[in-house]
Amino acid sequence: MTTPEDSRYAKSHEYVHVEGDIGTIGITEYAQKELGDVVFVELPQVGTQVEAANEMGSIESVKAVSDLFAPVTGEVVEVNEALADKPELVNTDPYGDGWMIRVRLSDPTEVDELMNAEEYEEWIQTEK
């Protein structure tokens, strides 16, 4: 598994990639594999406030529906509109074109409480 070193990870399998005060959020490679074929992603709208560890939307695969949790607190500044027509991007490129939302971080130090790539890979092992 190739977990990008430049992102941070929540135990609920979302990642956040931070540049300046903007965090790009999506789900991990492990999460997309567990879900299987994604058919529908429900995301918060631009302008919404999301809070760390709180529900921010849901993701539906052929098999099941799961909650999405915000890994950090902030205001949604951009939503990946491409997922409305191509939810499968979450499967094919979770860290790239399959990103979900961008938020303006309220508290950049929150990111430090998330796992790094190495810690996340260890966490996955305990989940199996």
């Binding site: 299987g36 074929d37 539906e60 052929v62 098999k63």
Partner: protein
């Protein structure tokens, strides 16, 4: 389901793992939920061919001079309509009219029947039939461990299977079967399935199954898991025991009146079914599609204001139709086609509409 009991394995367990199957606990059996992905496997069955391991299914043999009498009194379809080499979909019923199980009955001979039942029900079914056989000259035997079952489904199934057997497959019409040698194994080859597509189900001895599956995969038949089996059967509106039917639902409620033959004589549940046929059932299983976004899934309540009036029994994203579909029990007066209703999806009111079924019907 979480128990400490070790998972049961089919003869193809290692084959699935070697082929990259993602294994899950399915009612106590370790089975693959998917190989390449549900959408990919689903499409293979609709356009080419796929292979499913259904060895977890149970097999019960019913033999003796009163074999037919036993089957007639415990089921709602008319087993006397069968002749040798034919199979029938049927309901094993309680006196309440509820399903013990939905089953396939094969007639091997006038006093020799082969009954295929759902995995999780096989012990219950056997006990029920055994008990009902008291006083009858019939031998009921649970032969589940003696058989492996492979389902090869899709428009290319016949021509691919024909390369592995001298048994002519074209003359085996829908819901008929033949015995013969298949890829070196003694087999029952049946033109039946659970996908809404043309295809076969093949019963062989357990040790023959891995070789046959390997050969078929080498011939281009795609390995498929439980995930695709569920989306395929739901598009074809084939009932799943434990979801759409169970001991609390009757064949009339489940929109399976075509397997209820009241004129055949007395059988368990006949009074109840007769009344439901005359007066209409209290509720009815209908097909629906979503109007709002979301998927109504198994167990989600259907509400009318603050009142719960029904329940979703199955729901998924239809890979063929590319929309959300499902089955639900609705009160009879709300079950007409076109009728709109509200499903609570994780607490959120979501609109759906009753539509004609099956959702998918193959071109003949």
């Amino acid at each position: 389901m979480s128990t400490d009991a070790p998972l049961k394995k089919t003869p193809l367990n290692q084959t699935h793992k070697d082929l990259g199957g993602k294994m899950v606990d399915f009612g106590g059996w370790e089975l693959p939920v998917q190989f390449s992905g549900i959408l990919d496997e689903h499409e293979a069955v609709r356009t080419k061919a796929g292979i499913f391991d259904v060895s977890h299914m149970g097999e019960i043999t019913v033999r003796g001079p009163q074999a037919l009498a036993l089957l007639q009194k415990t089921t709602c379809n008319d087993v006397s309509a069968l002749s040798d080499g034919r199979a029938q979909y049927n309901g094993l019923l309680y006196p309440t009219g509820g399903f013990v199980d939905d089953i396939l009955i094969y007639r091997l001979g006038a006093d020799d029947y082969f009954v295929v039942v759902n995995a999780s029900n096989s012990d219950k079914d056997f006990d029920w039939m055994h008990e009902s056989a008291q006083g009858l000259e019939v031998d009921v035997r649970n032969a589940s461990s003696e058989w492996a079952q492979l389902a090869i489904q899709g428009p290319d199934a016949e021509k691919t299977l024909q390369t592995l057997t001298d048994l002519p497959l074209a003359p085996i019409k829908y819901y008929r079967f033949a015995k013969g040698v298949f890829d070196g194994a003694n087999a029952i080859v049946s033109r039946t399935g659970y996908t809404g597509e043309d295809g076969f189900e093949i019963y062989v001895e357990p040790e023959d199954a891995p070789r046959i599956m390997r050969h078929l995969v080498d011939l281009g038949v795609k390995p498929c898991g439980l995930g695709a089996r569920d989306t395929l059967r739901l598009e074809a509106k084939m009932a799943l025991y434990g979801n759409d039917i169970d001991h609390t639902t009757t064949p009339i409620e489940a929109d399976l009146a075509w397997i209820v033959k009241l004129e055949k004589g007395d059988f368990a549940g006949r009074d109840v079914l007769s009344r439901e046929k005359d007066e209409g059932p209290r509720r009815k299983l209908v097909g629906f599609e979503m109007i709002d976004r979301g998927i109504g899934r198994h167990g989600y309540p259907i509400v009318d204001g603050s009142e719960e009036v029904g329940v979703v029994t199955s729901g998924t994203h239809s890979p063929t139709l590319k929309k959300a579909i499902g089955l639900a029990y609705l009160p009879l007066d709300k079950s007409a086609q076109g009728n709109e209703f509200t499903i609570l999806i994780r607490g959120k009111e979501t609109r759906a509409r009753v539509v004609p079924t099956p959702f998918y019907k193959r071109a003949k």
